[in-house]
């Protein structure tokens, strides 16, 4: 086998080898990324960010981690306390069932709103939707960003 053939074969095999080296490095980076994501706590399926709050409690910009069942209202026993004259003591419950979020209005005096529309009993909502209780507005967001 002369030198020329050797170079030809070398280049061919090296090219294929390098393709796989590239693939291996990329896949290593993907795995590292997935492992890092898996280490982050994911016990909270979502969060509520306060967009507007005339009373100052909760404060604008504050973010609440949500449990599977999160009661909202003016009473201090709620997971999210809304100190607003237009909120009822036990105003509404936010629940995560199956693959979806649901807001249930607990027959509050002034009602609950999703994207500006009053809800009737239970209504589904998605990430990015906006909900309003009393004069306080929240946005539902995914926990991991």
């Amino acid at each position: 086998m002369d030198g020329f053939t050797l170079v030809l074969w070398g280049a061919r095999l090296l090219f294929l080898l390098l393709l796989y080296v590239f693939l291996a490095r990329v896949i290593r980076a993907l795995l590292r990324d997935l492992r890092a994501a898996a280490r982050e706590p994911v016990d909270r399926p979502g969060r509520l960010v306060v967009l507007e709050s005339p009373g100052g409690e909760p404060a604008v910009g504050r973010s609440f981690g949500l449990d599977v069942i999160t009661p909202l209202g003016r009473d201090v026993n709620n997971a999210i306390v809304i100190d607003d004259p237009f909120a009822s003591a036990e105003h509404a419950v936010l629940t995560y069932r199956g693959r979806s979020w649901y807001l249930e209005d607990l027959e509050s005096t002034n009602g609950s709103y999703i994207n500006g529309q009053p809800i009737d009993g239970v209504a589904a909502l998605g990430y990015g939707d906006e909900l309003q209780i009393g004069q306080v507005r929240f946005r539902l967001e995914r926990t991991r960003a």
């Binding site: 020329f4 170079v7 030809l8 074969w9 280049a11 061919r12 095999l13 090296l14 090219f15 294929l16 390098l18 393709l19 796989y20 080296v21 590239f22 693939l23 490095r25 990329v26 896949i27 980076a29 993907l30 990324d33 997935l34 994501a37 967009l51 507007e52 005339p54 237009f86 199956g98 693959r99 979806s100 002034n110 009602g111 709103y113 994207n115 500006g116 529309q117 009053p118 009737d120 209504a123 589904a124 909502l125 998605g126 990430y127 990015g128 939707d129 906006e130 309003q132 004069q135 507005r137 946005r139 967001e141 995914r142 991991r144 960003a145």
Partner: protein, 480 residues
């Protein structure tokens, strides 16, 4: 009562403005740089392999073309470093590797397959492809840098849908017919294939529509016997989609685009709702439609006959498929080496549309199954990145957009790779980033650019939803 009172005062606009115009800090992207250097080394070795095989002397093949391509990649990397956004660092190298393979392949094919004249100079296949590749990298990097808000896609989804349908109708009416397919739209000196752009518009529209109506699709049921279906009005877009796909097949004779559009639609529907029943209905509709089409139209029946038995007409309809299978067979495990395959028959390659429809067969012959598996692996990496960006996105719209964009590339690559390998009937879609063609490269570059923009972790929050869409208000009123 005062529920609506506070709305007017708060708008996110003042807060987001300084962010767009604010100071820009460069941010190093070491991972991307390392991977790009590896791409450069790989392509250089490939070029040596190609040059040595073609000329009989050890050396690079067309160092200028390779140099220009690598310089464009470096430029895209540098621009992203200077822009300082925290976007994905794996997409660009992965796409760069596929584009580089495309360049090596086009340099290797007979240059007179395509001759285009710009400003009095005529360019051959590889040179035209190089121009488009550089353009595609520029488009992807530019979109990845400047797109900071998705509201221009999100707000105007029906406008985009109208643009898409308009493009389609324009092609129906004014399109020029090439090889029995009415795909190419020529306006003055510019010609292009609108179906490539259409697939991006389709994803933009579907992501908007599905994220807005996701809750309703998941929540409500219409019971038909044992089946639990979503509310019937919401099936209307599905039927419309099906009709459009069939329309593409009938008028444009473009089986591949129809398959791609319907596949992406079903996948996104499943991603948005998680309801397998919708996908099953879609598949049934698809099979019924295909069966009817196969009975009605000669060219579709021919495609299916070739797929089942190409050897029944080896010199006519089955010619391309058989030659592709032979190419894969010649390639074997390690391939003939770059520049080693494709003995030309009378100065032409044995497969007529090798640079657009059969690049995978050419690469299979020269790189063997080992190389083909690596290429398919790179496509999988791109899809994985897109899905990952979708999972991490802040809201449903961005999730569905990212997932849809990634699946467009993945499904398209699957359709044409399977067509080359005789797993599916052969259809005329391009192999993303590898096939020759400006429309295809630029449309896929737009996809990658949008994915890059969506992957930014420090991007502005999604805009506030509008207070209930018109459609939702209408249905609410009807329900009350």
């Amino acid at each position: 009562m005062t529920a609506q009172a506070g709305r007017a005062g708060t708008s996110p606009a003042p807060r987001s403005l300084p962010r767009v115009l604010g100071p820009i800090r460069p941010r190093a992207r070491w991972q991307e740089l390392r991977l790009l250097l590896l791409v450069a080394l790989t392509l250089a070795i490939g070029s040596v392999s190609l040059g040595t095989a073609l000329t009989g002397e050890v050396g690079l093949h067309d160092p200028w073309g390779l140099g220009i391509y690598l310089a464009a990649l470096l430029g895209a990397h540098g621009a992203q470093v200077l822009a300082g956004r925290r976007t994905d660092q794996i997409l660009l190298p992965a796409v760069a590797m596929l584009g580089g393979l495309s360049l090596l392949l086009m340099e290797r094919l007979p240059q007179d397959l395509v001759i285009q004249r710009f400003f009095g100079t005529s360019f051959g296949l590889a040179e035209v492809q190089l121009i488009w590749l550089v353009g595609a990298i520029t488009v992807a990097a530019t979109l990845g840098i400047i797109v900071r808000s998705d509201s221009w896609l999100r707000r105007y989804k029906y406008t985009w849908a109208a643009v898409g349908v308009g493009l389609l109708l324009l092609t129906f009416v004014l399109g020029t017919e090439i090889n029995g397919q009415r795909l190419t739209l020529q306006i003055g000196p510019i010609s292009g294939q609108p179906s490539e752009l259409l697939k991006v518009i389709l994803v933009v529209f579907l992501a908007g529509y599905l994220s807005e109506n996701r809750a309703l699709l998941v929540e409500q049921d219409t019971r038909v016997g044992p089946l639990r279906l979503p509310p019937l009005p919401y099936l209307a877009p599905m039927v419309a989609m099906w009709a459009i796909a069939l329309g593409i097949v009938v008028v444009q004779r473009d089986l591949g685009a129809a398959l791609l559009f319907f596949g992406v639609f079903l996948a996104l529907l499943y991603a948005a709702t998680g309801r397998i029943s919708l996908v099953l209905i879609g598949l049934v509709l698809f099979l019924l439609g295909s069966a009817a089409m196969a009975n009605l139209f000669e060219h579709i029946r021919t495609r299916i006959d070739i797929w089942i038995d190409p050897f029944s007409d080896p010199l006519g309809a089955g010619y391309q498929v058989i030659q592709a299978l032979h190419a894969f067979a010649r390639g074997g495990l390690l391939g003939m080496g770059l520049g080693g395959g494709l003995p030309e028959i009378g100065g032409r390659p044995p497969i007529p549309e090798i640079h657009t429809d059969f690049p995978l067969a050419a690469l299979g012959e020269e790189l063997g199954i080992v190389g083909v598996v690596a290429i398919l692996g790179i496509y999988l990496v791109i899809v994985q990145r897109g899905l990952r960006i979708g999972v991490a996105a802040a809201d449903d719209y961005r999730s569905l957009l990212a997932i849809g964009l990634a699946l467009v590339i993945g499904i398209q690559a699957f359709i044409i790779a399977a067509g080359n390998l005789k797993v599916l009937p052969l259809t005329g879609v391009t192999l993303p980033f590898i096939s020759y063609g400006g429309s295809s490269l630029l449309a896929n570059a737009v996809v990658v650019g949008l994915l890059l923009a969506l992957s930014d972790k420090g991007v502005e929050p999604p805009p506030l939803p509008r207070p209930g869409s018109r459609w939702r208000r209408l249905t609410r009123r009807a329900a009350a």
